[in-house]
Symmetry: C2
């Protein structure tokens, strides 16, 4: 037996999220089927993040113990050949014996994309949130500065969460104008929000983004975020930004 | 009554192509429904290109005559509000009285994307063709030079075409390494093929691309394209490249 670490990419559009749900198409369900086919036995695996329905991943990590029957260099091809094409294994490597993708993660980086304009290009509709009125990015950056650091994030945690400890550390929170390029070298302007933290409560990134957008729309002051944190009350923060704008970029380990 | 020119973008993934087909979701069908809602009467319209199922558009053009009841500046918002979000009107303008998007087009530019590697990123699977073995781009460029100019393109015309005149002029045919940027500034390398011509036979771009890929794989010589053109025989050319790699970039008018 060896401990294997896989990096996955997926287009979250066609999934009811990562975790199993009866009768639903999920990332875990598809991965479990694929691993069972490849190893000819059920494989129990852990994931770094349990992404919600519609959330994408560029660098999800899963880990499991399995017989060393398949060379790791051939594992991505073997698993991809039985996975649906909206999930891809992009890397497989041997991990330390006790490695666990979920419990050993030291930090995660997420990106949230906002299309700030009147007409969302059709190919962006499933990977960005359309906000029509012009956002005040300077105000959003001020609010983001308040978010950085160690705080009790109860106010940004979904009410139906299982979390018990609400303290998390946000290492960085960067908001910038960015561009997409798909066809013809044409640049499509988007607002990119990249946040790195030691851990995230249920829907925390989306609740923070939803609140910052309200700051960007002038509905809240940047300084108001201090009061929201202090309140430890979900009802004090803004709306939850929609899932499709969110992407798990990277999971950090020692 | 005024003559209106609209520029459309669409994600071709969810459509059975542009033209009406009984029981199928088509671009024409969705546009007809939307125009009827906006103008409260059926609107007959022409399109520059009749894109196939799965083909995308960044600059499709349609034209129609309609009552001047809605200011053109408000027309995109009005139509988009009743169109599904995988089609967007990005521009509306008044055209000359006799303007016809189909018959007045002087040239069209298409782009075809190839992902040349082992693992297609999930978000590219519906907009690029995955070719796993490394392509010889220099050989493909040599073949492309032969395609440029005025030729009888019978060998690259799908057998079930209605076309009668098979002579077309290819103004330019550019193959280059390009990049996609979606998340995190990460560049994903793709091969971009941009072709501009005065008109295209049924499946012509995809048949040329399919043949050039066979050149890139070393299955055909670049010079062999001369013989293919001369043969005027579809069976002499290569396979049809899959639809999802193709995008209508721009339609040119005087």
């Amino acid at each position: 037996m060896e401990t294997v670490k896989l990096i996955l990419q997926y287009d979250g559009t066609g999934f009811s999220g990562f975790e199993l749900q009866p009768g639903e198409r999920t990332i875990r369900g598809e991965c479990a089927k694929a691993l069972k086919k490849v190893y000819k036995r059920p494989i129990k695996f852990y994931s770094a993040s349990r992404t919600d329905a519609g959330v994408h991943a560029l660098g999800q990590v899963i880990s499991f113990k399995a017989p060393a029957s398949i060379p790791l260099s051939k594992l991505p091809v073997a698993i991809n050949s039985v996975l649906p094409e909206d999930i891809r294994v992009i890397m497989a490597e041997k991990a330390g014996k006790g490695f666990n993708a979920r419990f050993d993660s030291k930090a995660k980086t997420y990106e949230y994309l906002i299309f700030n304009g009147a007409i969302t290009p059709p190919h962006l509709r499933k990977i960005a949130w359309q906000v029509k009125p012009k956002l005040d990015i300077a105000a959003m950056k001020k609010a983001a500065k308040i978010i950085v650091g160690k705080h009790d994030f109860s106010s940004f945690c979904a009410a139906n969460s299982d979390d018990k400890n609400f303290v998390r550390i946000i290492h960085s929170f960067v908001i910038r104008n960015s561009s997409f390029i798909i066809w013809d070298g044409q640049k499509i302007k988007v607002i990119s929000i990249i946040v790195k933290g030691n851990g995230f409560l249920y829907k925390m990134v989306r609740n923070i983004v939803g609140t910052l957008v309200e700051v960007g729309l002038g509905k809240r002051s940047p300084e108001g975020v201090k009061g929201i944190l202090k309140a430890k009350d979900r009802t004090k923060a803004g709306r939850t930004a929609p899932a499709q704008g969110l992407c798990l970029i990277k999971v950090w380990y020692n």
